[in-house]
């Protein structure tokens, strides 16, 4: 490889356009092959670490692969059929849907609101923008463990602050009750990712043409009308892209659940990713876990296709 490339470097001197030594290949052949050689390592690596495992796990999803069983028979669509009867899996879909719809939805509104507020000229704007971005920079698993401390019943600041407000000790175990555990997960998720939405919308808002807004002012448009008929329609592609990025990420929501609730109480806060992790890596039911992963993958592809189609329509 080194010899070939070294030779290639010798054959053509830059800018001269001369055809020198031919070696094993003609200049034309080399010109055709060289770009492929440059991308070959990437292609090989992608094939090895992405394409091959995907195909392999797709094959696994049609087998009864259990660590406790010596044989791994082919069972066709058995795993897929069983998954749609598995109450736990269906519940994990519901929890994932709640995170995506409520979590990402709230992030969108809050992020948009914050971006609107900080899009005007104000003192200390840079400081606020930088401060709002801090949660995005934290690792989700660190966020999960930190919020676990914040929600602690005895020593957590959240209970302490509520206690100050109501004037008596407050020691509620947020993470041990189903409804409040989901609430705690959503608050944590929203806290971390609203700044991302805010940043995307802020960059969108500041890039809008000010002349349009000046014209609207001259026409006597109110603030609401400018928002309704100018800002939102103009930002629509950006809103869709932000939703796309966050939505796909939230569908794979794992780290915070792992650190904050471990899927408990019971399995009431398990998301699809967490369920797959438990099935595949805790119980080593690789066939079943692979089938669940492919259902998630199909869901991701469908949502992605829909949002991309929507984006295309908006752009047109």
């Amino acid at each position: 490889m080194e010899g070939f490339m070294g030779e290639a470097a010798n054959t053509v001197s830059p800018g001269s356009g001369r055809r020198l030594k031919s070696g094993w290949f003609t200049y034309r052949q080399k010109k055709r092959i060289t770009p492929w050689l440059f991308v070959a390592p990437c292609v090989v690596i992608i094939l090895l670490v992405t394409i091959f495992p995907t195909i392999y796990s797709f094959g696994l999803s049609f087998t009864k692969w259990e660590i406790s069983l010596p044989n791994r028979p082919f069972i066709g669509l058995g795993n897929y059929a069983a998954l749609f009867k598995d109450v736990r899996f269906l519940h994990s879909i519901l929890i994932t849907a709640i995170v995506v719809v409520v979590g990402v939805g709230t992030e969108m509104f809050l992020g948009f609101g914050l971006a609107q507020i900080l899009s005007v000229k104000m003192k200390g704007k840079r400081f606020f923008v930088a401060a709002f971005l801090l949660p995005v920079m934290a690792m989700p698993v660190v966020v999960g463990y930190t919020w676990r401390l914040l929600w602690d019943a005895m020593y957590g600041p959240i209970n302490q602050i509520i206690g100050w407000i109501i004037g008596q000790p407050f020691q509620f175990t947020w993470l041990a009750k189903t409804s409040t555990a989901i609430f705690a997960i959503l608050v944590t998720e929203i806290w971390q990712w609203t700044p991302f939405m805010f940043l995307v919308y802020l960059s969108g808002i500041v890039s809008l043409d000010p002349e349009l807004f000046e014209a609207a002012d001259i026409d006597g448009a109110s603030g609401w009308e400018k928002l309704r008929y100018l800002t939102i329609p103009l930002l629509r592609p950006i809103i869709i892209v932000a939703l796309l990025i966050r939505g796909l990420d939230a569908l794979k929501f794992f780290d915070v659940i792992f650190a904050l609730t471990g899927g408990a109480p019971g399995n009431s806060t398990e998301t699809i990713s967490f369920y797959i992790y438990k099935t595949g890596y805790q119980f080593f039911r690789l066939g079943y876990g692979a089938a669940a992963s492919f259902i998630l993958l199909i869901a991701l592809v469908l949502i992605l296709s829909y949002l991309l189609k929507l984006l295309k329509t908006v752009m047109e």
Partner: protein, 524 residues
């Protein structure tokens, strides 16, 4: 082209901005530096104040325990010398646990020239990574470590190599008889007469209680007046509940009646022992129908829910560290947990560097030890095995034989920071161990008694899934689900797991597990 004056203006503006940025960066750096230094010195000052005693330099106590024709430890050293220059990858649980091989590894290297590389993994990752390594054809590990619960799964998957050829060749067979009955039994480290792992840890639950509170005359009379019987370490779960309620009513929030780990992923271990102690049986051995949702199962779970009411707020999310902190701080009258907490609360190892994170004990000399009510859980535990994929199987075996030998294992269970607990008869009878702190003989007796009447967790294929179903039932009940409904759900999952893995095969495995010495007293 810009006019010259405009160019000049922009240049100056850019210069000014750059200067402002530089100033800001300098200021920021100075502030961060000051904060960093103050935190550093503040912490150093604090730790300087609190850690007055110098760390114990010599943590390994030399021991000589040899019975039978020869010492397995010496034999292992002699035979291993031929592998000088080899490196063994040894899997161990991360954290304090791994301080054990990190301490003993260099000694082994000094004796044999074999280097020990400790691969630290979390408890759950040990199970998965060793399996993955084997299934993907890797040979990353030479020595593997496993819980007895995983034994059958590991044997089925071929993750562990049989040790018998090496035992026959190198071990003093008397050492196999030195394991306490429950740890040397079939289903712990061996299946039939085939050894897959050398039992290496005596994990059992112990009830620790505050003798000063239990022996206080005022407490004694108040308790008798309220409940009509003498205040003494509880023998039944009802007594445990009464005593816990009593102390919480009287002393909370300063002191609570007690606490037990209720964190998801751990709580099933406490349910198992209590269920068995109440007379429960996991399956009907003829039909393999789960019996966890029987009235005994429901009663057990209801008892746990009731106990939470007098335990500290938020106990549903407490793990080992929370229990340890509250206990060492003198905030609990009773705890039921693993053995190390008993040693640390007596102040043993308080000055070693590895335990500097453990809160200083405020209860030294005030701690009593008894087996928990009913049947103590034999929860967790470790065996040492060798990987069939290892390129240095014999050297790996010789290392585990040395580590596990009576004399070296005694040194290890006496390491102040070790999480390995006595598991050999010679450990329980060791005068050296008994001299470690004033109450050590009482502690050893309690550990032995608890182990002998202990209930091992259900160790059949799919053990992790069965355990997780119980765990989910417990945390659901703590969240407000009716215990019966929670256990019905768990039983439904058990049925599904059993059916999936083959009811006949599971029936055989359950019969094998029930034959274990831990079932001599039960399950009823």
């Amino acid at each position: 082209m810009w006019p010259n004056n405009k160019k000049y203006f922009y240049k100056e503006e850019a210069k000014m901005r750059a200067s402002r940025v530089r100033k800001f960066m300098l200021l920021l750096f100075a502030v961060l530096f000051l904060i960093g230094m103050s935190v550093q010195f503040g912490m150093a000052g604090k730790s300087g104040k609190e850690s007055a005693p110098a760390p114990e330099k010599e943590v390994v106590k030399e021991t000589v325990v040899v019975s039978g024709p020869f010492s397995s430890a010496s034999k292992a050293v002699e035979e291993a010398k031929k592998y000088k220059g080899t490196t063994l990858n040894v899997v161990w649980e991360a954290g304090l646990q791994s301080q054990d091989p990190l301490t003993m590894g260099p000694k082994w290297e000094e004796l044999t020239g074999i280097k020990i590389k400790v691969v630290e993994l979390s408890y759950n990752d040990i199970y998965s990574n060793q399996l993955q390594d084997h299934l993907t054809g890797g040979s990353s590990y030479d020595v593997i470590t496993f819980s007895p619960l995983w034994l059958i799964d590991y044997v089925t998957a071929g993750v562990v190599a049989p040790l018998n050829p090496y035992i026959d060749q190198y071990m003093n067979k008397d050492d196999l008889k030195d394991y306490l009955n429950v740890y040397g039994a079939e289903g712990y480290g061996r299946i039939g007469e085939t050894w897959y792992g050398l039992p290496d840890d005596g994990d059992v639950f112990v009830l620790y209680y505050r003798k000063d509170l239990f022996e206080d005359p005022a407490n004694k009379s108040d308790f008798k007046a309220k409940y009509g019987y003498e205040l003494a370490p509880p023998k039944t779960w009802d007594q445990f509940n009464d005593i816990g309620n009593f102390f919480t009513d009287k002393f909370s929030p300063k002191i609570y009646g007690g606490a037990i780990q209720r964190l998801e992923g751990q709580v099933y271990s406490w349910w198992d022992g209590a269920f068995s102690g109440n007379g429960g049986r996991f399956f009907d051995p003829d039909t393999m129908k789960p019996m966890i949702n029987s009235p005994i199962g429901v009663k057990t779970l209801q008892q746990m829910v009731d106990q939470n009411k007098w335990m500290p707020p938020g106990v549903e999310k407490w793990g080992f560290v929370e229990i340890l902190s509250a206990w060492m701080d003198g905030k609990l009258a009773m705890v039921i947990t693993w053995p190390p907490i008993g040693r640390w609360s007596a102040g043993y190892g308080a000055t070693v560097e590895q335990l500097s994170w453990v809160p200083k004990t405020k209860v030294a000399g005030k701690v009593g030890y008894v087996p928990p009510p009913g049947r103590p859980g034999l929860a967790g535990g470790f065996c040492l095995g060798i990987s069939p994929d290892s390129k240095n199987k014999e050297a790996a075996y010789l290392f585990i034989q040395w580590m596990n030998s009576p004399e070296i294992s005694l040194q290890r269970v006496m390491l102040p920071f070790a999480l390995r607990d006595p598991f050999r008869i010679s450990h329980f009878e060791s005068p050296l161990y008994s001299s470690l702190w004033p109450d050590a003989p009482e502690y050893l007796n309690c550990l032995k008694e608890a182990a002998m009447k202990g209930q091992m967790e259900l160790g059949i294929p799919g053990a992790r899934e069965y355990a997780e179903a119980i765990d989910n039932a417990c945390t659901s009940a703590f969240a407000g689900t009716d215990p019966k409904a929670a256990l019905d759900n768990a039983a439904k999952r058990w049925e599904e797991i059993t059916k999936r893995l083959g009811a006949d095969k599971q029936k055989e495995n359950y019969a094998l597990w029930e034959k274990g010495p831990w079932n001599k007293e039960g399950p009823k």
